[in-house]
Each structure stands twice: as structure tokens, then as C-alpha cells.
Symmetry: C2
Subunit: 358 residues, 2 copies
Amino acid sequence: MSSTTVATAPAALPSIRGRVDAVLAAFVDARARSAAEHGFPAEITETLRGFLFAGGKRLRPQLCVIGWQAGGGGPVPAPVVQAAASLEMFHTFALIHDDVMDDSAHRRGRDTVHRSLAAHHAGRPDAARLGINAAILLGDLALAWSDALLHTAGLTPVQLAAAHEVVDVMRTELMYGQYLDLCATGQVRDDVEAALRVARYKTARYTVERPLLLGAALAGAGHGVRGALSAYALPVGEAFQLRDDLLGVFGTPQVTGKPSLDDLREGKHTALLALALQRADASQHRVLRRLVGNPCLDGDGAASVREILTATGARDEVESMIRIRFVQAVQALEEASFAPAAAAALRELARMATERTA
Amino acid sequence: MSSTTVATAPAALPSIRGRVDAVLAAFVDARARSAAEHGFPAEITETLRGFLFAGGKRLRPQLCVIGWQAGGGGPVPAPVVQAAASLEMFHTFALIHDDVMDDSAHRRGRDTVHRSLAAHHAGRPDAARLGINAAILLGDLALAWSDALLHTAGLTPVQLAAAHEVVDVMRTELMYGQYLDLCATGQVRDDVEAALRVARYKTARYTVERPLLLGAALAGAGHGVRGALSAYALPVGEAFQLRDDLLGVFGTPQVTGKPSLDDLREGKHTALLALALQRADASQHRVLRRLVGNPCLDGDGAASVREILTATGARDEVESMIRIRFVQAVQALEEASFAPAAAAALRELARMATERTA
């Protein structure tokens, strides 16, 4: 259930990242001061700060701002930046719990949150367990605090109500998407549609569509704009996930930053694997079932799996699915009449999502 | 870190429980329908429904309503009932995650949520792990949904902003309180103040003060009323926790519904234990250190611990701490000028919190 690696965000909005990070830093600082006043341990906010600023492309906040512009919102006021930042805090929650569920050791080139909280308590016999439990709590805090960011953003009551409607759907969909992903992982199956459903909820809707719609909702955009954003977001998001699945198996670890055996060892249920299972002959089928989801898979085994993914045509088929979705997204953009800056950023994102190598 | 057993709620407000439950049932039904429309698995909402309606005294919603009345709010309108119900959904989140952290097997006389989700996936080799991960997600959903309940309650913008201020503090305090509790559990120490701090955040503030203040905030109550509610809530909440600590060791399992060895085996850091450690002679000290926090503790060992808790005077001292807090709470009530119904309910709660046997 490892989370999607996020590509570099569109360059069309260079100033937003700094503003989002400033909001996040000020918020965490304030929470740290308040914790200190109550005599609460500092490691909670310190760990959160370390995680937030160790990396992350701020893709969801940027998409929120693009949605704001697509919805005709004009220059980006501070409340919209803070609402966008709340998406990053929410994503922080999602990643912390995701890493607990997967028992991942590393994220953003450092220890995951549960590992680093366990290290903080090194010396206690129950340090590992305490690290996991503290990370569950810190994730819970990040979820609660994403709400605090939204609420103190200075939105109008109408904006806040509109934002909450989008945010509620986004949260619910992500949790269900994660649950579907948990249930599918480790079950080697040839069900392409099931893999695409997870991609739709965990990536297309959560990462692309809902952030765009949040921005559009804040701008008071009507049905037309929102429909056009969804028509763009869903194929881009699916393409993004399909590219991620290919990179997870065929990518260069030095470029992707992600070990190329993890997805295979975990038995991640992807459209790529489902297609290969559909097309495999009996002997290829046996090899895939033996190796995929096997935690002891080695480099030779991975090479055999890659060979079958290629020989069955599954790899080419996924490339073709990505191309189709790219075309759909570009068409949706052409049919929409977004502000030029927003359209340019969305076009760039579609290109990156489909062509990226990391 | 097992959660406080909640006593029967004040009888002064009999009609609220039904209204709160109706709101919760309608909400879960709507979420279940929406999940079905999206083809999401039904076990998520089914498990939540089963947990919500297997028990629970709705103490926090009732206190919210008492706070509303103390604040001069009059008859309880539907938006206030729904805001009160959002506290129960939040508490559901807290209990689900608490049980995951403690790896508790039972709650409300049934399997805990992670156990029952594991049972749902029985047959999978990773069922236990999947149950835990799914319970983390279901807890996350309950937290997000507590927010959805608050937001769709139909509060005015002024009420919503006031509510969010209280709710934000409540959530943050609870998470820190849980973290302090996690860190203290299993560490046998004679620090009474540390135990009282956990009681203050996890019970006094979370269970009593913040629900009262939420109701008062919804009624637009001023500083005077809010200060009086806090002056009442803190001693009552601490007394409540101190009584809980005594019942956890000396209570009759048939009455408390809680095995009388759990707190001792877990090594729960309580004021009772800290006082005993302060007063113990060398040999009593050795016995406490050997037996408390020992997962293999048996009935004989528990009897030895109980004997020391009594012989050192720690048990009597805790009884006296409860009495002092009861008096403080009643004094606070007498100095306040709450509506008679609210004052009566609060007086009854203070009595129950301090005298209860379950």
C-alpha cells in the first residue's frame, strides 16, 4: 500500500510553495509553543516539523491553487493559501498512517515517523511498539490539525461550507481507497478493474481531482468549471498511477528514489500485474504467482517477473493506457475555458504525470 | 492506556440519548448508502454501526447538552443535538485507536474493532494485521466523520467558529494526554503529579470540561459561565479518574465489566500506584516493582499488590483525594448560577463520578 511517489509539481506557480511552507511552519511553531506552555513533550511537534520539511512536492496545495485560478479566482489571497496548506497537513496524516500500516522504514530519505519516534525512546524495551503507537497519535493530530488550518484560514462562511463539502468527500474516498488497497495487496489477481478503482480513489480523486475542486469551490466556481476539472483530473490521475506502477517495477532506483523490488515483494495489486496474469501462459502464471508478493524476492526473481511483464505485452498495454488517458486529459483541457495560467499549469502536469521517470 | 470506563450518565436528561442515537444512526445509514452506491465494502460502516450501538453511555453528548443549558441555551435544538453527537463519533475514533494501541481484545462486551475486522478477513494469512490496519482506517474515518457531523449540523457561522475552537483544543489535548499515558505506562514510578496530569487531560478535560464548554460555546455563554464550568469540571474529572483507578484494582469484575488484573498487568501509571511507591518500605517496593506491569501477574500476585496498596495507606489517600475533589466541584456549583436543570444534572454527575462502583 505504499503511497504514490509524487513528481515535481508544475513550475507555472513558483511562488505558492514558499507561501504554503510559510503557513505550515508558522502553524507548527504555534503548536510547539502551545505544547511547551502546557509542559507537553517537544518530540511530537519536532517530529512533525522534521517530516513536513524533509521533502514533499506540495502537489495537492498547488493543484488547489490551480483550481482556484481555473475557477476564476484571480490573485491568490492568504485564506486560500492556508486552505491549500491544510491539504498538505492532511497528506502528512495519510503518509504517517500509511507507513505504520506498511511498516515502512524510510520516507523522504529519512526514517519514517514511527521509526524516528521509536528511536526517540530507544532504551525502553517497548520502544518499537511505542514508536508505532506514537505515530498513530501523531497522524491523528495531523488530521485534526489539517482541520484547524482550514478553520482558522479566514475563509468566509460560504467558502468554508463549500470547502468542507469537498474535504469530507476527499477524506472518505481516500480511506476507502486505502482499505481497498489493503485488501487487494498480497492477493495476486488478474482483475484490472479492481486495480484501476484503487488508482481512481487513491490517486486520481485524492491527489488530483479533489484538490482542484477545493480551489474551484473556494473561488465559487459553477458546475461547468467543476465538471471540466473532473474530466481532466480523472484520466491524469489514473495515468499518474499507471506510470507509478511501471516505475515501481522498471524504474531506475537511483532516479525514482524507491527500491525497485518493493512493489513486487509487497505484492502490490497493479493494473500492470493484472494484465500480465490475464495474458500469461501456464508456466508464466506459475512464475508470477511464486514470485510476486514473496518477501524474499531477489534481483534474479525480479528480472524474471520483468521479462514476463514485457513478454506478455502487459507493459506495452499499460503504456498505451497512459497515452489514451493523456489524450483524454488534453481534450478535456481544450474543451474547457480555464484562465490561461491554470490551463498551462494543467497541461504541464499532464505531460509530467505521463512522461516522468521519477 | 485503557480508556476510562464511563459511568451511567445523569438521569436528568433522559430524552437526549435517544435524540443523539437517532442522529448517529441516520448519519451511519447515509454513509452506508453512499458506500454501497460507490461499490465500497459494507464491513466498514457495519463495523462502525455495531460498535456505536453495542453500548456507550453518551456521557460526552449529555455533558454538551448540560453545558448548553448551563449557558442559558433553553430547549435543545436539533443542531445542538447533532454537535453533541459529533462528540460521540469523535470518542468512537478515540476508542478504536486506543484498542489498537493496547491490543485490547474486548470492548462493550464484544470483540474490539480490530479483532472483528480481522475475523471478517479470517482465512487470509494476514488477517490479524489487516484487522489492525483496517481499524486504524476506520478510526481515521470516525475522526473525519465527527467533523462531518459538526459541519452539517446546521449551526450558525458564529456557533461553528466557537465550536471549532473548543473542539480543536479538545482533540489536541486528548492526543497529548494519550501520548503522556503511553509514555508512562509500563514505567513503575512514584510520580503522583504525572499520573494526575494524564487524568487531567484524558479524563477531566476531554471527558468532562470540553464537552461542557462546547455546549456553553454553542449557547454563546460568556467568560463567567465558562469559568464556572471549568471550575466544576476539573475536580469532577480527576475524581472520576481516581475512582476509575481504584475500581481497576479493587473493583468487582462482575460489576465493573472489566477484568481486575488488566490495569496491574499493563502497569498503568496511576496516582494510587505512585502513592504506594512513595510510602512503601524496601520489601513492599520490591514486590510492587516485580508484580506491577508483569503480564503474567496472577490472582495471588494481584492480592499481594492490593494488600500493599491498602497497607501503605495509598488506597485511603486516593479516597481522600476523591472527597476533596467532590467538595471542590460542589462548591464550584454553588458559586455558579446555572439553570436549575443543569445544576441538578451536574450535582448528580459529581456524586456518581465519586461514588460509583462500576
